[in-house]
């Protein structure tokens, strides 16, 4: 025991001839050696008149508690174990790899976006385009039954929109074409318009 304490004294003064790593391992593993080391530090500090007016015996506990609170659980490692070393290497590798990982993710996202865009929006062939156009024209020509009355209780008159639609079939067709076209490309069930009806948007109040 005395021998170990003497080794601790030498370790503190950087005068150890033994394997410093092994001795340090002993200190970290033995709480009594740590207490003794702390008392040796207090002796030195008192002799150099470095002691604070009130010693906070929990100072290092408070520092370490703050540090542990900051660290993610994976970063908390025991002293010197193989797992700790492997985790440390993994951590450093992660730090080194982080910028490249970000770049890789960004590139992947860009590639996937381009691929999806190309799949969803292939260059339309003329016949397909004209068939679509015909379908749109046909559907646009039909009257959409129901749901055309304003639902707002505050709006007493049908509003100008309906007047415009009746008076201007071109505008009505355009609007219908837009709605049909939108439905075609929306993710909802075919023929169902997913959004809520806008009521009284043009009410003159």
């Amino acid at each position: 025991m005395k021998q170990q304490d003497e080794k601790l004294s030498l370790l503190l003064d950087d005068d150890t001839e033994a394997d410093i790593n092994a001795e340090l391992g002993e200190v970290i593993a033995d709480v009594n050696l740590q207490y003794r080391m702390r008392r040796y530090q207090i002796i030195g500090a008192a002799m150099r008149n470095e002691l604070a007016q009130a010693i906070n015996t929990d100072f290092h506990h408070q520092v370490m508690a703050n540090i542990r609170a900051e660290l993610p659980p994976v970063a908390m490692r025991d002293s010197g174990s193989e797992t700790a070393r492997n985790s440390a290497i993994a951590f450093m590798a992660r730090s080194w790899f982080r910028p490249f990982a970000g770049l890789t993710v960004a590139t992947s996202v860009a590639l996937v976006t381009v691929a999806l865009w190309q799949q969803q929006d292939p260059a339309p062939k003329d016949d397909l385009a004209s068939a679509d156009q015909q379908k749109i024209e046909q559907l646009a020509g039909q009257q959409i039954a129901g749901g055309a009355e304003p639902v707002s209780s505050r709006v007493q008159s049908p509003g100008t929109r309906w007047k415009l639609e009746h008076e201007s079939p071109v505008l009505q067709r355009k609007l219908n074409a837009y709605l049909v076209n939108h439905t075609e490309y929306s993710n909802s069930m075919q023929g169902l318009i997913p959004q809520a009806r806008v009521a009284g948007f043009d009410a003159e109040q």
């Binding site: 003064d13 030195g44 002691l51």
Partner: protein, 191 residues
């Protein structure tokens, strides 16, 4: 003061993810750092907070420490900068410590004062100092000289051996025996 092999080894361990090694560094330098901060900030409770902050900052930045300087030089620089930044930020703020007597109970700073500067701590510290100096006084002259040359003058073992004209092994033994005698007196106070 030696080549600080211990510090280098501790830093290496911390950089490898061993937080327990940083605990040893905190224990080793806490008095010096608090003392250094005390040169910038008079209030003891604030000193403790700033010193804690400095240690936490140094832990966060330890991977950037490449060993070009001694660890304690690097740590002291962080502590001094932390204290200066604290003073600068305090100067920018309005005088926040003017509180009514009635509000003092709920004043944030008051709890810190309670934590560090309570009468028990002040008394304990006085007792620790008195015990250490009394124990040093009682030491045989050779042990007293050895520990004084080491702790106060900061001489290496080789230098102490030269000064005391004795083998280095004797110096090692004298310093340890001096510490051991003082520790026996000090230990009951800190348990």
């Amino acid at each position: 003061m030696g080549t600080n092999l211990l510090d280098a080894e501790l830093v290496k361990r911390v950089q490898a993810g061993d937080t327990a090694a940083f605990d040893i560094l905190v224990q080793k330098y806490q008095h010096k750092v608090i003392n250094l901060v005390g040169r910038f900030v008079a209030d003891h409770a604030e000193c403790q907070d700033i010193a804690q902050d400095a240690f936490i900052k140094s832990f966060r930045a330890i991977n950037s420490f490449r060993g070009d300087s001694q660890f304690y030089t690097w740590l002291y620089r962080i502590a001094a900068n932390t204290a200066k930044n604290y003073l600068a930020s305090r100067a920018r703020k309005s005088p926040g410590y003017t509180v009514d007597v009635e509000d003092a109970e709920h004043f944030e700073g008051e709890s810190r004062l309670k934590e560090y500067d309570n009468p028990e701590n002040l008394l304990l510290t006085e007792e620790i100092k008195a015990t250490i100096f009394a124990a040093i006084e009682k030491l045989p002259e050779d042990l007293k000289s050895a520990i004084t040359l080491r702790e106060i003058d900061g001489l290496s073992y080789e230098e102490i051996a030269d000064v005391m004209d004795c083998p280095i092994g004797t110096v090692r033994s004298r310093i340890f025996r001096a510490r051991d005698v003082i520790d026996k007196e000090l230990r009951p106070l800190l348990e």
